[in-house]
Symmetry: D2
Subunit: 350 residues, 4 copies
């Protein structure tokens, strides 16, 4: 049994990790850490749905060092800029790390600094980090000890855009990602933005030109294309708990008259052939409800002949494929378990 | 592997059965039947979340006879009055049956007729039927071939009230069940009642003195008490998809000053000791969200000293413990599988 | 034009007051006060829906004295225990007051202290206060200068129960109020309880034997009945923004066989004859959606013959009839305006 | 008093018309017509929130001729293709018409035919019809007797894009409208798409390249630009009742470095100067909640410098500014009433 510690267990990503790991036949949760205010609190008091399932109390990050020897792998689900302070010593202790935050998603410290205003004290660990999107970087993930788990919006955007970009099918400067997220993407922290009465029946765009995930999307799309790409990314907050639907627009290059829906769909099917967690739809369109609670990314592709726009729609559960599920997928890869272990849930429908 | 057929696969209970059975290590779905309009339709077209998971098309009930030999057990999830016409021949063919409808929940044909206006052509099969509430009738379920799976409201109400009734702690004619249900309880059929815009922000009582589940609750509570009990039952439709919360009121007999919260809670804990799917809360109260997608029934008990009222709150997922989950639990009992097989999901929280 | 000041303008009740008063032809909002953190903030920045409608910035309570001379009437929408400190000087300045908080709802200081743990420094003002439920105390309201505006739950509960209690039709110790509220009842303050993801799909009871509105309901029902009544009151939080539905249970006295639905309904119709804001339904049941945004209290009555229980269902918008609308209704009465002025909105349906 | 008849009173647009007209000081509803199934039904039975407000029963279209003499103006809120059969005789009878359907939105019969597959028997009436978007065609509306009231998506899209297009600021072939709608946009008819359980927590695109409102948007944008424009339009269904948020993308022409947020915002403010129902936000972004129940269109503009994309966000209530409110605004213009009469509601917030 792989012994696992979770830092940031009090948030929604942490709670989702717990749910998944409790049903993982090869991993056991050994300890939980959370913010200071949770110290000593039983996880089932923070999350009553765990009553009778996990009898652990939360420790704080101050307890990290004395707890390192008891585990093999650590998940960190923390706001950006905090993991930097802890990951080095975890790696130095010979443990594996899956960081669900932003700190290890950029190989280039300058780009990280541009978007997050922070610098890595040492680039040594950054260089070991692999961007944890298995569909693109499976081989590298298997070989590393430190995974920077992708952000939720980037997961939906990159999986949606990658085949177009890789095949050079579209004008790269035309890429637009109009993303719609459930409220859980903002975490469990209290705020007016997350207040039920402010969100219910309320749909709004936010951070229209400034969202940090734009940096992550641009960085990864640039990597795939081999160029330096800017992407228009507009996130929206929608009145639902879970899910991201990304509607991606891109203008096809010149020869647009020849493009057909079926060919585009086939191109996506070929690109994701054999992938256990990407479903390319033929004649249906993705819906957040079809992936809720699952590790799937569902994709549909359509072509608007009159305007030459390809429209790709991708849907994920922001807390599963967009966070904890993908993190467990990465753990499975890191540790040599079958990749889908503990990730085969279907959507609880309706 | 147990070979299973599902009749009524197109409804929400049917879809939930599919979800659960697809992850059951000892059962395999062999065929699906649904209403005529679904004939020949792939289940993944009716329920796209099943894409890539189950490649079966729906047959109709006209295909039943020729399909009986290929299975060991049949689930029926049909409106009341229809199962009557098919269950006898399934039983006669030596197969086991779990009927999620109302037709086999009453041992007494007269009571069934009073509430449903229908008569069983022959009482022979009715007599074999066991009311499928494992917490009360586990031994009988294990010995039968025909289970009448409880209704959703009755499951929450009976599990909530049973300890009080069994211990003779309350005035039986004072029992009130104020139940709040999500919309999925009304099924997938289209209706103005189920229209998003009519339900969102809308909370209403319905069938205040006439709901058929009142008959089922009265019948079962009477059985437990040994008397003839009438229960006040008021169901409410609330703006959510899943879940039932039942708030149960009952006046304690005379010696009320002695009753304490802790004793009541202990009494419930003792009553449900060892039950895998009942959680009695000490210092929290049940919430539909804690049981969503799970087979749990969560219970909390409080005592209002000034009025002598015991208030019991029970929460279930109407489609799992209130339908398909309990049906699988009954299948496990019927077939000698560990009772919790395929039923250990945690709530997808939040 | 009546000049009006609003204290507590930043909360939902305050915002609803603004909405109503902006359309009142005989009243003008002169100033707004809110918590310190809002000092100097424009109301349209706190509530962007007011953009272009009201160009006032929030002051704080420290600014009260210097602002008293500019107004005729003050609304206070504050947490309990705060109004006590300000109302006396407003009254002494010769101004009228409608207090939406709990401080002036009890004529009896001892009862107030029991439920709120606070004492009025002087009972002088308490004695002038009238409980602002126009359907019961219209004459007194017209004659006073200080109104204690009822709580949201009590408004629904008292209007629902009053006819039964007044007519001595039911056993008073059998009264149960099972109330379901939208989240806005908890105010605009941030908390985990109000988090969208914690409330969506979540239904739970809370404060089962301890809610302060139980004290208010008992106090007022006792007043109506002339006795000392204890009421079982269980509030529930439901996944919607606005609305309260109260389901009220009461056992009829002995001669229950004679009671009929139609007679009960007629009794309610007679009791509320001529009331502009109470609608007694014949053959429909109340729904929070029918009263959303309105000052109506809709009522339906049913009788369960088998159990002798009368079931009364009342629905209000907790922020309108349960708070700001009723406050404006009281202002209209205090000031001699037609009672329905600015209160004739229909539900924004759906 | 203007005497008004409403055809299609049973739908959500019809019900919203009733709500607005009941508070209109210069108009009176004389009769209602709805689908055959509603014949003889009281409107308060179809819409209980109208109890005590309007005591009219529904007639059917078969009753039209005999009812024409009693009114001055008719609103039609019907599925496309039906109004064609009735409008000519209403106009011939000398009455005014505001048609909320699609039949009179296109001056060009060929375009109408392309998108709706229908032909106008006679173009005579089509030629009299004015597209009822007062912000663009106020003068024409005042002079006609027949208004084709804009669709909900087109209202949000055209008001959002018009200033950019009129000023020739953007590449017209780059226009993308990503629109998100509440469920009420699909009407009150029952369907699986409108089922609460299918919509709650479900977000999906639909009719990605085929929605008829794309034709209306293209037709009107072309008119404004003077060219022949194709627009990429992708509508999405979101889990809320009311509201449309349109996120509009357009690439600025060459000199993009000079564009600034403030200038764009000012350009919009100038364009909509004096408009009573358009609010251009400076430093906030539109939210469907801010316009719910109102006739406002809120607009925010942002510029992504790195990609040269202007991003315009517009929000309306699909049933008010997107249907019944705009229809009343048009009636006010047709009849010489102040344009904002009966349309000054604020959002019922929260």
């Amino acid at each position: 049994m792989l012994k696992v510690g979770i830092i940031g267990a009090g948030g929604y990503a942490g709670a989702t990790l717990i749910n998944l790991l409790l049903r993982h036949p090869e991993a056991a949760i050994v300890w939980l850490m959370s913010e200071d205010a949770h110290q000593g609190k039983k996880i089932a008091d923070l999350y009553p749905h765990l009553t009778g399932q996990l009898n652990l109390a939360c420790q704080t990050l101050a307890d990290l060092d004395k707890n390192l020897s008891s585990i093999d792998l650590v998940f960190l689900a923390l706001p950006h800029g905090i993991a930097i302070n802890y990951v080095p010593r975890i790696i130095d202790a010979g443990k594996r790390v899956v960081d669900l935050g932003a700190d290890y998603r950029f190989a280039d410290n300058a780009v990280f600094k541009k978007w997050y205003g922070l610098e890595h004290a040492t680039e040594k660990y950054l260089k070991q980090a692999v961007f944890g999107l298995p569909e693109l970087y499976r081989a590298e993930i298997k070989k590393t000890k430190l995974v920077g788990n992708p952000g939720c919006y980037p997961t939906a955007a990159i999986l949606g855009a990658a085949p177009l970009v890789k095949h050079g099918l579209v004008e790269l400067d035309s890429l637009i990602v109009d993303a719609k997220s459930g409220v859980s993407g903002a975490g469990r922290g209290v705020s007016l933005k997350a207040h039920f009465c402010e969100r219910n029946e309320g749909l709004e765009a936010y951070a229209v030109t400034t969202h940090r995930h734009m940096g992550e999307i641009e960085y990864q799309i640039s990597r795939i294309s081999g160029g330096q790409i800017n992407v228009t990314f507009v996130p929206h907050l929608t009145p639902m708990t879970r899910g991201i639907l990304a509607t991606i627009y891109a203008k096809v290059k010149s020869q647009k008259s020849k493009v057909k829906n079926e060919e585009l769909t086939q191109l996506y099917k070929d690109f994701y052939k054999g992938e256990p967690f990407v479903r390319v739809f033929d004649d249906k369109l993705p819906n957040t409800k079809f992936v809720a609670g699952t590790n799937y990314c569902d994709i549909g592709v359509q072509y608007n002949e009159a305007t030459g726009q390809v429209i790709v729609i991708s849907a994920i559960d922001n807390l599963v494929k967009g966070a904890a599920g993908q993190a467990v997928q990465n753990m499975n890869l890191l540790c040599g378990f079958p990749e889908t272990t503990a990730l085969q849930q279907l959507a609880v429908y309706p």
